[in-house]
């Protein structure tokens, strides 16, 4: 047991829900800037802080309660029209929201939040006490208080509300008669009840600081809680629609029934019963099991799917803050938030997407004056969109900025010594744009503190590739740039094509395979010292799998697999095929040979390596047989 005393689960729930709520508040704040008088928005934001405060109280998160309480009061004034939303006030609110988010971070580390930035608290209090329209309680409170003063003793049968109120606020019943200051008493009572830990925890928690101090402060440390705190770093709970869980349950039930059927058939068969009826029943049962298992796999996979909107909703605020900092006017437009993506992928996408959005706001779009000079509206739009295309998820980050200049990118890359002049000349538009993904590339000589942050576009690309995805750029000077990320639906199951090299099967991701064709050696042409094959007018390089793996080439391969990655198309020459399969990837943990994505087991029990084509091909880049063009492509 940690100092949390059984509250860990509660804390996790709270954080997950409160984080969603805060992201929602963040977005509403962005909207509020456009519509400062929208009462519905003000109400929603008020309720957001109010709800967080209520939950935080149960977690004894005093500082969080205080901060939320002040912010909530501020919104109460705003929605009652007692305060006017000014730009300065908006900044105070944004800072307060940021403070709340930071406290969530601390809670996530199982640490009781530190007091909010005193400047933020002071600013909030300043606004609340110095509001020109007057202090809320000075204007509104006296009336009900005065009413109460004249209120006769409670009618018989009615609850004694004064007593109840007193009980509620922890004051003696007599306080109720001191009507004039009852409100302030009530207010202080809240603060008191907040300061003294009263929540759900066992009484011992009231004497020891709840959650403990920072776990790192502990002499000697507590291995279990420390480890647990580490695990908390990553959100390891998931919210699943119960109907999806029901489906899983239902399917596992059905599988159980089919298993029983098979067990009984096995007994029959072992007893020597092998008439056509038994075999037919066996065939049926196995087919049914086949169907059920693939349904189950799908259903389980679906439990991991989360709408990407949960990730997206954090971004408008980030874009807004950044734009403000840079003096730009940017609106981040979201689309396709309901698109469902594997949970792990959502987490791993967070950083690359933030980087791309920052990049779009920082480097992509122009300053308002510049835009007007170019005849564009001063406000720039950055669009973040998700959609499912077949078995892929496509993410688009598009801006309507100045676009990218291929010539300048080439010059920069040459200047930085990333490619030679010669190589630069062979690159076409698309390849030139892809140069920005090279490690060490940054178009701005001065790394801005905004999208700089020590991470480059190469990291974005690496992260996307780790998810078996790809990223490409389209850009039109003066019109804007578009980054297109393509990702598989799930990382758990990979449809593969099984190819043979001699007797040895290898698995290739089916998503890269376009077609399979026989290779006639007579049709192979040598172009620039490389083997190529013309397929319907397109000249494609032929790469033999044996050479790629460093195996001796015993006979010339008979089949070619037309493969297409985001960067290039080629023919992979293999000896033969063994069909297709849905591979469940088992990673090779610590031991991972280059070019091998993982292993899977075939239906006959044989273990097969799943090849990572991109990694295998990147080896080719260094191969002396390949010219500069191919090398440059590999950087792409």
């Amino acid at each position: 047991m940690s100092d949390f005393g059984g509250m860990e689960d509660l804390l996790q729930d709270f954080l997950q829900e409160a984080n969603d709520l805060l992201s929602d508040v963040d977005n509403k704040l962005v909207d509020l800037e456009k519509m400062p008088d929208d009462r519905a928005l003000l109400n929603d934001i008020f309720r957001g802080f109010h709800t967080v405060k209520g939950g935080a109280g149960f977690l004894n998160a005093t500082e969080l309660v205080t901060l939320c309480h002040l912010t909530e009061n501020l919104f109460d004034r705003l929605r009652n029209g007692e305060l006017e939303l000014t730009a300065e006030l908006m900044d105070v609110i944004m800072d307060a929201t940021k403070g709340v988010r930071e406290m969530f971070g601390e809670l996530g580390q199982m640490v009781q939040p530190q007091p909010a930035d005193s400047a933020v608290i002071a600013a909030l209090k300043g606004v609340l006490s110095g509001g020109a329209v007057g202090v809320a309680h000075a204007t509104t409170a006296p009336h009900p208080a005065a009413d109460v003063a004249q209120e006769p003793a409670p009618a018989p049968g009615e609850p004694d509300w004064n007593a109840l109120h007193a009980a509620v606020t922890g004051k003696a019943a007599s306080v109720a008669s001191a009507q004039s200051d009852v409100i302030t008493k009530a207010e202080t009572a809240i603060v008191e009840s907040v300061v003294t830990p009263t929540a759900v925890v066992s009484p011992s928690a009231a004497t020891t600081p709840p959650f403990g101090r920072r776990t790192t402060d502990k002499p000697g440390g507590q291995p279990t809680s420390a480890r647990r705190a580490e695990e908390r770093g990553r959100e390891n709970t998931i919210r699943v629609d119960t109907s999806r869980l029901d489906q899983v349950l239902n399917l596992s039930g059905e599988i159980g029934l089919t298993k029983n059927r098979l067990t009984s058939l096995r007994a029959d068969i072992l007893a020597g019963k092998n008439d056509s009826e038994t075999l037919h029943a066996l065939d049926q049962a196995v087919s049914q099991l086949d169907l059920l298992v693939s349904d189950l796999q799908n259903s389980v996979m679906k439990t991991r799917m989360q709408p990407i909107g949960r990730l997206f909703q954090k971004y408008p605020r980030i874009a807004r803050d950044l734009a403000r900092q840079l003096g730009k006017d940017v609106e981040l437009v979201l689309a396709g938030e309901e698109t469902e993506v594997d949970k792990t992928m959502i987490e791993d996408l967070a950083d690359p997407l933030i980087h791309l959005i920052r990049n779009a706001v920082d480097h992509g779009v122009e300053m308002p004056e510049e835009r007007q000079a170019a005849g564009k509206p001063p406000k720039s739009l950055v669009r973040l969109e998700a959609r499912q295309e077949g078995d892929h998820i496509v993410l688009i980050i598009a801006d309507d900025g100045k676009g990218m200049n291929a010539e300048r990118i080439r010059a920069k890359a040459t200047e930085k010594g990333l490619i030679s002049e010669e190589e630069a000349n062979t690159l076409d538009e698309r390849q030139s744009l892809n140069l920005i993904f090279m490690p060490g590339f940054s178009t701005k000589t001065q790394i801005s503190d905004v999208s700089g942050r020590g991470v480059g576009m190469d990291v974005v690309k690496t992260n996307i590739q780790k998810l078996n995805g790809s990223i490409e750029i389209r850009s039109e000077p003066g019109k804007g740039s578009v980054f297109i990320i393509s990702l598989p639906l799930t990382l758990a199951i990979l449809p593969v094509l099984l190819v043979l090299l001699g007797d040895q099967p290898f698995a290739l991701p089916l998503s890269l395979v376009r077609e399979i064709l026989p290779i006639e050696q007579s049709r192979i042409q040598e172009v620039g010292g490389k083997e190529t094959l013309v397929v319907r007018g397109e000249v494609l390089p032929v790469i033999t799998l044996a050479r790629l793996l460093g195996w001796p080439l015993e006979r010339y391969p008979e089949y070619g697999v037309f493969m297409q990655t985001a960067e290039r198309s080629f023919i992979l020459a293999v000896d033969s095929f063994a069909g297709r399969d849905d591979a469940v990837i088992k990673s090779l943990e610590d031991f991972r040979p280059k070019g091998v994505a993982g292993v899977t087991t075939l239906s006959n029990g044989q273990i097969v390596l799943i090849l990572d084509m991109k990694e295998l091909l990147s080896d080719l880049g260094q191969h002396p047989d390949f010219g500069p063009a191919v090398r440059a492509l590999d950087f792409a």
């Binding site: 509660l10 729930d13 709270f14 829900e17 409160a18 709520l21 929603d44 309720r47 109010h50 709800t51 405060k53 209520g54 939950g55 109280g57 149960f58 004894n60 509104t140 409170a141 009900p144 208080a145 009413d147 109460v148 009615e158 609850p159 509300w161 109840l164 109120h165 009980a167 509620v168 606020t169 009852v182 409100i183 009530a186 207010e187 009572a189 809240i190 009840s193 907040v194 009263t198 929540a199 759900v200």
Partner: protein, 131 residues
């Protein structure tokens, strides 16, 4: 305690963590027959389905807030007898008065312990016993 442990509660709050907290506290007090609703509108629908004997509701919720829910319950002949305990983050006098005038059976301020909840519930059960 006079209360039947099988008594069916409806816990109404838009914040699921809060519903869970209240549910856990009720469980601690021996009440395990608990259903949940996300806001007043859903609560009212569930209540009209029948079978509920006690309502514990948050005040501040989207769609239909706790006070409106309370007023709707009191205005519905089949539901008006239901005890309703209001939960809120504020101990503001005007809130308490509004709740009382609308016929709340009790009023409890966040955060609270199982002990406080038990006290409030017992007060309400006593009153119901008298009625």
């Amino acid at each position: 305690m006079a209360a039947d442990p099988k008594m069916k509660f409806l816990v109404v709050d838009d914040f699921s963590t809060m519903r869970r907290i209240v549910r856990n506290l009720l469980k601690e007090l021996g009440f395990t027959n608990v259903d949940e609703a996300e806001d007043g509108a859903i609560a009212l629908q569930k209540l009209q389905g029948g079978g509920f004997e006690f309502v514990v509701t948050d005040w501040n919720m989207p769609n239909m807030d706790g006070l409106t829910l309370l007023q709707s319950i009191r205005a519905t002949p089949s539901l008006k007898h239901l005890p309703v305990l209001m939960i809120t983050a504020e101990a503001k006098k005007e809130n308490i008065i509004a709740a009382a005038q609308s016929g709340a059976s009790g009023y409890i301020v966040k955060p609270f312990t199982a002990g406080t909840l038990s006290e409030k519930l017992n007060k309400i059960f006593e009153k119901m016993g008298q009625a």
